[in-house]
């Protein structure tokens, strides 16, 4: 567990590319026209037992609002160290967020699940908007979200 976390941290630190046991993965999240302000999105990984492993990306820069990403918040306690260096702007309705990360090979086909929590001001919080198992075969397959995410793919 500890070593895996370390791997994640390393892989998400994009200043250290070219790790032998890692591959670049592009994640594309397209939002629906939900008719509200920009959405906060938390991308994170849980293991086969459902326990939080680490965060991949945080779209939205005001830590005050992270509590509305309720599953992620409950898992991390809102610890800013979890998303240090991997935050960006919130994503507007109908827009697409595309991020490329070096992910450890060990994360694939090993029971890990990628989650996205979403929240929009004045609208319903949507934890676990996306929950998709990380598999080599699943790459390139678009998955719809529940409320705010039109489609999510990784490849």
């Amino acid at each position: 567990m500890k070593s895996l976390l370390a791997t994640l941290a390393l892989t998400t630190a994009l200043t250290l590319p070219g790790l032998a046991a890692a591959r670049p993965v592009t994640m594309t999240t397209t939002l629906t026209q939900y008719g509200g302000d920009g959405a906060y999105l938390a991308l994170y990984v849980t293991d086969a037992a459902g326990a939080y492993v680490g965060s991949l990306w945080m779209a939205g820069e005001k830590s005050k609002y992270y509590e509305h990403l309720s599953d992620w918040y409950r898992a991390t306690g809102g610890d800013p160290a979890e998303i240090n260096g991997i935050t960006g702007a919130s994503v507007g309705a109908g827009r697409t967020l595309e991020i490329t990360l070096d992910l450890a090979d060990a994360l694939f086909d090993a029971g890990y699940t990628l989650h996205i929590d979403a929240a929009v001001e004045e609208m319903r919080d949507s934890p676990n908007e996306i929950a998709v198992p990380l598999t080599a075969a699943g790459a390139g397959t678009a998955v719809p979200g529940r409320r705010y995410i039109a489609s999510f793919t990784y490849e």
């Binding site: 830590s63 005050k64 309720s70």
Partner: protein
């Protein structure tokens, strides 16, 4: 200092603050509209009942929210599609869309961030800070202008722009300060600068693991009235470990979906409660009426901005641009200016130019900024000071005497004081004299004894310049052409002649009101607003020096009236008495607030002789409120110079004049106005006891005689004319 604190944020932030105010005012309508549109709440309904109704109509329910305005919104996920709607709490049925109003959202984003995210938020917060500074400094200025915080609502006078600015501000300043202060709090909260983050209930050690407990029987929900609900989130469908999350106006809790029991609870922190109250005060969400009031107040901001800018422009107009002003530290000669209307700056500029021509480094500054430590190389200080009102410091010299008094030692460089004023006023150069006296008392070396310039006389100024030059070995020729006031052309409508038989030709001249532009009206220039007792400056042909006459009418009368007596050899009075209807003269207005009748119901005692009746007649004509007025009028002979005789009869019949006493000076037994006053001593004393105001207008001798008579009348009451003067109840217009 306060004025600068008010002016600069005001001008710089005008645009930001206007955007903030207009968008805020528009937003203030939404809570009220939502309040009106929200379905009626059900009295006594608890949350369990509401949740059960909504669940019945919306399987897959995920969340119920109640807005501060009372609107209930539900969010669900059913058959793979999300849904949401506004709910009627009585039936659980949909009554409208839950999507945010796009207009409100657009306005909100404009209002808080100019669509620029954090940079915009900071800019708008700076706007709010400017608004707060403006509100607080403005309040201090109002208190200063009205004469203290307890006189907050005392009437103000002056040009329209200035009055409008103050009249609106007196009410609006409270709302604007509230909106601005709450905005800053909310910004601080958004940027996480306040410890008002949400409190989270602790995760329970264990959950029942059961599901399907009926919502309407959940104890934790039955205890919650719908009015206190914020948000109820349902557990994930099929996840037995998940819980209900309930937020109310008291705090947040977690509820077991298998038992309906509260597992864990966290109260709102005091900081959160304060932040929520501030949110309500700022947005009106949950306090719609307050929101509308604040919105209306916000609408005054553009008006305040426009009138404020006009005030600033009007204030700058008088002050010439200072060219080649040497730095404070380098200056050999330091000229300090105390000016109210701005004309003294013109003299200072002429003086500075002449000194520079003689090779001097000259620094000009307002007296209010006096600080000798800033002028280490100063060889001499020159103070040019006008006087405001009854001997007060003019605007640019406020605080000078305090600054002088605080100095441990006087400056080394010697001082010359030049006073500016008008000899026809009792407090001629009184402030300059006070400065001179204070400087001498401090031991400040004298360069020249104090001198005075009467009515902007170029001759007086040139004479002082030569004396100044002699004092430090220069030839100084000061050739100052005072900027002529912008004069209007007044056309005579009618004249009414008196006094030929007593060798004192006198006439009442009535001129048409000149056309006034909108700009002049807004800035209070020209013949826009005046009343009896104000002065009119007439520019006779062949002279640049104006002659002043007291006005016998106000702008509401629709004409400009003065009373003129021919002086032997008098240039101006000769020209005026030669006017025929249709002829015109050049004239400008000068306010004379010290000789206004003022508001109030207290009696007026008006005393005048000869042409001095002019402003008094105007005051009586304007006395529509039937204030008790007693007039004492002295003339030479009733058949010859009984000015306003017919008018006075009409006004007396209309009760605009309560009592008329005349004194006739020609005849077997000469009788003067002060004699008439003594004859009515009991009557006058009684009026004074009732708070009467005494107004005296006429020649110097008459005024002295009247003051003596009043002294005698007041003495038995233990009062003096000086005491009445100090209270503004004894005013004179003497020439």
């Amino acid at each position: 200092m306060i004025r600068a604190l008010h002016r600069w944020p005001g001008l710089v932030a005008l645009i930001f603050v206007t955007v903030l105010a207009l968008s805020g005012a528009s937003l203030s309508v939404f809570p009220a509209a939502e309040r009106l549109a929200a379905p009626r709440h059900v009295a006594g309904q608890n949350l369990a009942d509401l949740a059960a109704r909504v669940v019945a109509t919306h399987p897959g329910l995920e969340e119920i929210r109640r807005s501060p305005s009372g609107t209930i919104t539900a969010w669900w996920f059913e058959g793979g599609t999300p849904g949401s709607a506004v709910i009627d709490p009585a039936t659980g049925l949909d009554v409208g869309s839950a999507d945010p109003n796009p207009v409100e959202r657009w306005l909100t984003n404009l209002h808080r961030s100019l669509f620029l995210d954090d940079a915009g938020r900071l800019a708008m917060a700076a706007g709010a800070a400017a608004m707060l500074v403006l509100a607080l400094s403005g309040a201090a200025l109002i208190a200063r202008r009205t004469g203290g915080w307890r006189r907050w609502f005392a009437p103000v006078r002056g040009p329209v722009a200035g009055r409008l600015h103050v009249e609106i501000a007196r009410v609006a300043v409270f709302g604007l300060a509230l909106s601005a202060a709450t905005a800053l709090w909310m910004t601080a909260s958004t940027f996480d600068l306040l410890p008002d983050g949400a409190q989270h209930p602790a995760d329970p050690a264990a959950v029942s693991g059961q599901m399907q407990f009926p919502v309407d029987r959940m104890a934790a929900l039955q205890d919650v009235p719908v009015e206190s609900l914020r948000k109820l989130s349902f557990p994930y469908e099929g996840d037995a470990r998940d819980m209900f999350t309930l937020s109310t106006d008291m705090g947040t809790g977690l509820i077991d979906q298998g038992t309906g029991e509260m597992l864990s609870w966290a109260d709102l922190s005091p900081w959160q409660q304060v932040s929520e109250t501030i949110y309500i005060l700022h947005t009106g969400q949950g306090a719609a009426v307050l929101g509308l009031i604040l919105g209306l107040i916000a609408l005054t901001v553009p008006v305040m901005g426009a009138t404020g800018a006009l005030i600033w422009v009007a204030g700058r107009r008088g002050r010439p641009r200072l060219r080649d002003n040497a730095s404070a530290g380098r200056a050999q000669t330091v000229i300090l200016v105390g000016s109210e209307g701005g004309s003294t700056w013109g003299f200072a500029a002429t003086l500075a130019q002449a000194l520079r021509g003689a090779g001097q480094a000259v620094h000009i500054a307002p007296m209010a900024a006096f600080d000798p430590a800033r002028h280490p190389r100063a060889e001499r200080f020159l103070i040019l000071a006008a006087t405001y009102g009854e001997g007060d410091a003019p605007a640019s010299a406020r605080g000078f005497l305090d600054r002088l008094a605080r100095l441990a030692t006087p400056p080394n460089a010697p001082l010359a004081v030049l006073g500016f004023g008008d000899r026809s006023f009792p407090a001629f150069c009184a402030f300059a004299a006070e400065v001179e006296a204070a400087a001498r008392a401090k031991g400040w070396a004298t360069l020249l004894p104090m001198d005075m310039v009467d009515r902007q006389s170029p001759q007086d100024f040139a004479r002082w310049g030569r004396a100044l030059g002699d004092a430090f070995g220069l030839t100084l020729e000061l050739d100052h052409q005072p900027a002529r006031p912008v004069a209007d052309s007044l056309t005579l409508i009618s004249r009414c002649d008196y006094g030929e038989a007593v060798q004192a030709p006198t006439t009442i001249l009535r001129f048409a009101l000149p056309e006034v532009s909108l700009w002049a009206r807004l800035t209070g220039r020209g013949f826009t607003r005046f009343q009896a007792g104000d002065l009119i400056g007439i520019l006779p042909e062949g002279s640049a020096v104006p002659r002043f006459y007291s006005l016998a009418s106000g702008n509401r009368d629709g004409f400009v009236e003065i009373v003129v007596k021919k002086h032997p050899g008098g240039l101006c009075s000769g020209q005026l008495l030669a006017l025929e209807p249709g002829d015109s003269v050049r004239a400008f207005l000068r306010r004379n607030a010290g000789f206004h009748a003022g508001q109030g119901r207290a009696p007026l005692i008006l005393i005048g002789a000869g042409t001095g009746i002019g402003p008094l007649a105007g005051i009586i004509r304007a006395n529509a409120r039937r204030r008790p007025v007693q007039l004492f009028f002295g003339m030479r002979h009733p058949d010859s110079d009984f000015l306003y005789r017919d008018d006075l009869a009409v006004w007396q019949a209309a009760r605009r004049l309560s009592r008329l006493s005349t004194a006739v000076s020609r005849g077997a037994r000469p009788h003067y106005v002060q004699d008439a006053l003594r004859a009515e001593a009991a009557q006058v004393a009684e009026a004074i006891r009732q708070g009467a105001k005494v107004m005296v207008c006429g020649g110097r001798d008459m005024a002295q005689g009247v003051a003596q008579a009043m002294q005698d009348i007041l003495a038995p009451m233990g009062m003096t004319p000086a005491m009445l003067k100090a209270g503004g109840r004894y005013v004179e217009d003497v020439y």
